[in-house]
């Protein structure tokens, strides 16, 4: 023990008090809580995604409706960016080979122009956080076309 505030009052056992261990335990707990928080914010993003993907581009829309839509689109981007700033990275797996460790196939579909085993649609976004899969993407994958 160095000299200082601790020299007169810190007994021997204090040196054995495992600081690193404590920090590690707290860090694990923090990571767990943070994962859950991020996951629940991701669900808000899912709702945005579902709503936007349902918009029928071919239908006429009033200019007022269009301007609202633009603003809400902005809110969605803002949410996404905020999650990215918190360290979440989105997978963007469309066109990639299917990887069962990162993607969950919810449907197989044949597409004559795409070879087998390729992700053609990311129905629910997958993402990673701290170098680990935070949530698997739910995807549609091509099967062998006949």
């Amino acid at each position: 023990m160095g000299e200082g505030i601790s020299s007169e009052d810190a007994p021997k056992w204090l040196q054995a008090f495992d600081f690193n261990q404590q920090v590690a335990v707290m860090e694990k707990e923090y990571v767990r809580e943070m994962r859950n928080t991020l996951l629940s914010f991701l669900e808000v993003l899912d709702s945005f995604d579902r709503c936007f993907s349902a918009i029928d581009q071919t239908r006429e829309m009033s200019s007022l409706a269009q301007s609202w839509l633009r603003s809400f689109e902005g809110v969605r981007r803002q949410l996404r960016r905020t999650l990215e700033q918190a360290g979440v990275s989105f997978m963007n797996c469309q066109g990639e080979p299917f990887d069962p460790h990162k993607h969950e196939a919810i449907q197989a579909r044949s597409r004559p122009d795409v070879r087998e085993g390729i992700v053609i649609e990311e129905v629910v976004r997958g993402c990673e956080w701290r170098g680990e899969v935070l949530r698997q993407a739910k995807v549609v994958v091509t099967r062998k076309s006949r």
Partner: protein, 705 residues
């Protein structure tokens, strides 16, 4: 020998638990508490290459792509022959082929995976092998022994099949245990002296089991079993999905979403979440914007409140049915409610208040025990038994002699006991015994050892330790990882190599970081990544080449537990005496109460209470504002050079003064600076290396620090 774990090998999911001071469920490689009991075959994208057998979560992910090559519910087929009706039930529900063996002598079933026949034992062994590997990853040590649970109704041949699967997975199976028995052990019923007649009410996601067991002289005996193979929490989810559909029909002009698969996926997921929330609160606000859409109705939103009462009405019929089965068991055994001394509620669905209520209404509050996580109960019991059972039961049904833990063959009949190598013991330390590093290139000199975690570093690491190097080749990164102190890398012990190709656009000399994380379970996780390219990142957990700790004996664990509790009490008293005036009154009095609780737990040897209170105290010590910062600063002072110590002391003094003056802003400002300084000290301490400077080489280039 290596570690000994308990495995709940379930129909839908499996789990592993390990006892070390306290028993806990081990996380899988996907950071989940459960491994889905599923195996799937994935074809290679190139016809010429062999495919891959996936197990657990990855197998579930692949199921929709290869329904005929995905094996679910293999447990229902263990030890069965093709002509049994149970086999037909499975065949009807799943897409994979169940066939009989070519061998006319053998009536056992086979399943087909990519056209290849496997026995149910083979498939269970694949699941068990993955569980073993994940447990080794979580523990950082080899796992050699296991206790595996089976349902009480399993017959001898089904038990033998389970044991064989364990051996095939490379495990020495100490014993096959009944699931209800494991549950009873988790609840500590086996410690009681008196005679017990226990009813286990086990309701999971898809199956409901009742077992009646008797305990005399600490021996368990299964008296009766009953159940419904297709009743559970999934039915509750389905009721909520139906309510959602009805609401949509009412609000959107009769629009029926039930044919839409994506709607069903989202609805089912949200329904399960709502159900779980209703276990803890009286109503839930179910809000699902844009759950589906249709050309004529546009976006469909769900916005409804479900009260606990409404939910109870939905599921009443299932609960009633389950209680009818309970009454049936009692009637068949000619027993009254009063003849049952304890009721254990097990399985996730029993967390539902209505279920719990029905059971307590019948048996009375005192007899019903449900305070252990019902999803983990069986695995936890198995984990306790894996530590407690110090023998290996001979698998020969005519022998069943008990052998010592390190025996390879049965002492009585000579039957082999071993499915795994058994290795020697090495003792534990709280600091790394050797340095960990990689082989790098420097000035054209390959094979130079660059230490990343120096010898003597306390672990688990506060923060992963990392260093930056530079690529030396156009097309590949190669990072061999070593343990040892030699400056020539290859003179150390190779732990593994991380190697991956680079795309063409990465020039020589691009910075690459190598990060080592070493956790309390002594698992080394290595991450290598190319700067600015998140796709060129590779992470690998290295299996250490030898076990680090002796098999945990219970009395040693006892000793450690006492030391830890005592250390915490002392640390808390010290903290209190030094810093209590920086604590708010609520925290101070809670701390005093916790210390007294800890002292009581110490005196009574109450482990569970002890570890609970240890956690509470640690949280107070580390998370109480200024008081904690002063305490942490005091720890950081340890071994500092005179200059740094003076600076730190100065910061501490300022913090105290500001606090005493009640200057909140100043307190905040200084504590921020102090936190930074302390973090830096710990980090620097962690990265001091004792390897001389000329130690660079290997495939990544080090330009010096």
């Amino acid at each position: 020998m290596g570690k000994s774990i308990g495995i709940d090998l379930g129909t839908t999911n499996s789990a592993a638990a390990y006892y070390d001071r306290e028993v806990r469920v081990l996380p899988t490689r996907m950071n989940e508490p459960l491994t889905p009991s599923v195996v799937s075959y994935r074809k290679s994208r190139r016809e010429s290459r062999p495919g891959q057998i996936l197990v657990g979560r990855a197998a579930v992910s692949n199921a929709r792509l290869a329904p005929e090559d995905t094996i679910f519910s293999i447990k229902r087929l263990m030890g069965r022959t093709v002509d049994e009706p149970k086999v037909e039930e499975v065949q009807e529900r799943f897409g994979y082929a169940i066939v009989s063996s070519d061998d006319p002598e053998d009536r056992g079933v086979r399943v087909l995976l990519n056209g290849v026949e496997y026995t149910p034992i083979d498939v269970s062994a694949m699941i068990l092998r993955q569980i073993k590997e994940d447990a080794e990853r979580a523990l950082g040590e080899e796992v050699t022994h296991a206790v595996i649970t089976v349902p009480a109704y399993f017959e001898e041949r089904q038990r033998a099949a389970t044991r064989e699967a364990g051996q095939q997975a490379g495990l020495v199976v100490k014993k096959i245990i009944d699931e209800p028995t494991a549950a009873a052990v988790a609840f500590g019923i086996d410690k009681a002296e008196e005679r017990h007649r226990v009813l286990v009410y086990d309701m999971g996601g898809g199956t409901f089991d009742i077992s009646l067991i008797q305990m005399v002289n600490k021996q368990f005996q299964v008296l009766a079993i009953e159940g419904d193979m297709w009743l559970g929490g999934d039915d509750f989810d389905h009721e909520i999905v139906k309510a959602i559909e009805e609401r949509i029909k009412a609000e959107y002009d009769g629009f029926d979403p039930s044919g839409d698969e994506r709607f069903l996926m989202v609805a089912k997921q949200e329904a399960e979440k709502a159900k779980i929330l209703l276990s803890g609160q009286n109503e839930v606000d179910l809000l699902i914007p844009g759950i589906t859409s249709a050309p004529n109705v546009g976006l469909v939103d769900v916005d409804m409140v479900i009260t606990r009462q409404e939910f109870n009405d939905m599921i009443q019929k299932y609960v009633d049915h389950s209680m009818d089965l309970v009454r049936k068991v009692l009637r068949d055994q000619e027993l009254g409610v009063g003849d049952i001394t304890a009721v254990l509620v097990v399985g996730g669905a029993t967390a539902t208040p209505l279920v719990h209520q029905a059971v307590t209404d019948m048996f009375g509050r005192d007899k019903v025990k449900g305070y252990i996580d019902p999803m983990q109960c069986v695995a936890l019991g198995a984990g306790l038994l894996a530590a407690r059972i110090k023998v290996i039961e001979c698998p020969n049904p005519d022998c069943e002699a008990e052998n010592t833990e390190d025996a390879m063959t049965c002492g009585r009949c000579g039957h082999s006991l071993v499915g795994a190598r058994v290795r020697g013991d090495v003792s534990v330390g709280a600091v790394t015994a050797k340095s960990l590093g990689i082989s790098v290139v420097r000035d054209g000199a390959p094979d130079t050892y660059a230490v990343i975690i120096p010898k003597g570093t306390p672990y688990p690491l506060h923060r992963p330790m990392e260093r930056t190097f530079y690529t030396t080749a156009e097309n590949i990164i190669k990072v061999p990882v070593y343990e040892g102190e030699e400056t020539l890398a290859t003179k150390n012990d190779l732990q593994g190599v991380i190697e991956y190709p680079l795309p063409e656009d990465i020039p020589v000399g691009t910075p690459v970081s190598v990060r080592f994380d070493y956790d309390q379970d002594r698992v080394l996780k290595v991450t290598v990544w190319v700067h600015g390219r998140s796709d060129l990142k590779k992470e690998q957990t290295l299996a250490r080449d030898r076990p680090r700790a002796a098999f945990e004996k219970e009395d040693e664990a006892e000793e450690e537990w006492r030391e830890m509790l005592e250390g915490t009490i002392n640390a808390s008293r010290h903290f209190q005496s030094q810093y209590s005036r920086y604590l708010d009154p609520g925290t101070a009095s809670k701390m005093e109460a916790d210390i007294q609780r800890a002292e009581r737990a110490f005196a009574e040897g109450n482990k569970i209470e002890g570890s609970r209170v240890v956690n509470a105290l640690h949280r107070t010590i580390m998370g109480s504002g200024v008081a904690s910062q002063l305490f942490i600063a005091e720890r950081a002072m340890d071994g500092l050079g005179p200059e740094a110590a003076t600076l730190l002391r100065e910061a501490v003094r300022k913090l105290r003064t500001a606090h005493e003056a009640g200057d909140g802003e100043e307190v905040e400002r200084i504590s921020m600076a102090l936190q930074l300084a302390v973090a830096r000290i710990f980090q620097r301490r962690a990265s001091q290396t004792d390897v001389p400077d000329q130690d660079f080489g290997g495939l990544l280039k080090d330009l010096g620090r």
